[in-house]
Assembly symmetry: C2
Homo-oligomer: 224 residues x 2
């Protein structure tokens, strides 16, 4: 098995169930795409390019209100598959998700027409799509519960810890505006809460940077 | 075609694609169930009875926080199918939904083991489950956008109009507590907003009842 086959098999759980013809179709139609940081992979002008397999990078899915308020729904990393960039072939999906890169990202695209054909021919592809949608549905439910039921200090603590894990560093480079967008809050509210964390000796703030000083206390905030 | 067959075909879009054996299996295993108003169809103690086909009645799906706050996610009516009562056979679903009847409800239950078998054998059943999940996902996204992005007066106006449509009456019998649960708000906040609507001549309030006085103005509230 060559490297490409191995990659397909790992990322596309239906790969082993495809016929040789179907595999060849995917292999011939797949397109490698490169995105800069902050580029849209799905927007109102380009809603349905197809199934993206993230090779490397980081992608954020979010919704946006009429007055520009944003909420991050989930993130995708290396080897994740982005199904909402193929949402036009899914019946009964009546909402708009925006997808943009948070880091330089390389992805393989299986064009919509090909993925549509496969999902009509192969039960394994249907099962795959079903499981992928269930995953994203669970992500969204988690965010919804967090947003509606949790106090902001808890949500902010969880966000800072996640961000620090993703960056593999105690220092997080992010603006208060961006945090507010992620959490569906206002910048002023986030700034006030961050200052409170700083006064408590949990973090220290400097321009565009948050440094975690007392990780243990930040973790405690996520527990109660 | 007999009445039963006609019902199956209308409610279960995969019915026409089943083999005679599969149809017989469904027909022999299906159980008619009766629920009183306010009974749980899915709770922490009974998470996975199977696929419910609502014959008549009204069902509410909701989530609940640690401190008892509730949010209604969607409702099901006659001929709707409830998939989350079979959520244990769906991979990657990691959230808890509560399902209870809001009116006396009669439903047919396809037990979990049978639905599981069918969804492994039949592509049409997979497609059906996929489309049903996409519908519920869309419902939840709509609620999420409403809850996070809309002002409470707008949400309350929409809720009262919906309720009045469901009851087919200008008079809605519901407590402020229940409305608060539906909208994920507090009773006091809802009472205050309802009193404001009353002062504006949009509704009139009496014990356990809300009467829509000026439907046009209530509808205007949902637009801006």
């Amino acid at each position: 098995m060559n490297v490409k086959d191995k990659y397909y098999q790992e990322v596309l759980r239906f790969w082993k169930d495809l016929t040789p013809n179907q595999r060849e179709l995917v292999d011939h139609s797949i397109i490698k795409k490169h995105f800069n940081k902050g580029e849209a992979m799905r927007s109102s002008s380009d809603q349905c390019s197809g199934l993206f397999l993230i090779e490397s990078g980081q992608v954020r899915a979010y919704i946006i209100s009429e007055n520009g308020k944003e909420i991050t729904l989930y993130r995708l990393f290396d080897r994740d598959v982005c199904i909402f960039s193929a949402s036009c072939i899914m019946k009964n999906i009546s909402f708009d998700i925006f997808i943009e890169t948070e880091k330089e990202t390389t992805a393989y695209l299986i064009p919509t027409s090909i993925f549509d054909k496969l999902s009509k021919e192969s039960m394994a592809v249907q099962v795959f799509a079903n499981e992928l949608m269930a995953s994203r549905f669970s992500d969204v439910m988690w965010i919804m519960e967090q947003t509606l039921f949790m106090t902001l200090d808890k949500r902010l603590a969880i966000f800072l810890l996640e961000q620090s894990n993703i960056e593999e560093s105690d220092t997080i480079k992010i603006t208060h505006e961006k945090i507010a967008n992620h959490l569906g809050s206002a910048r002023e509210v986030i700034t006030r809460m961050l200052k409170y964390f700083q006064e408590e000796g949990i973090i220290s703030l400097s321009r565009g940077t948050i440094h975690i000083v007392n990780r243990k206390r930040l973790e405690q905030l996520t527990l109660y």
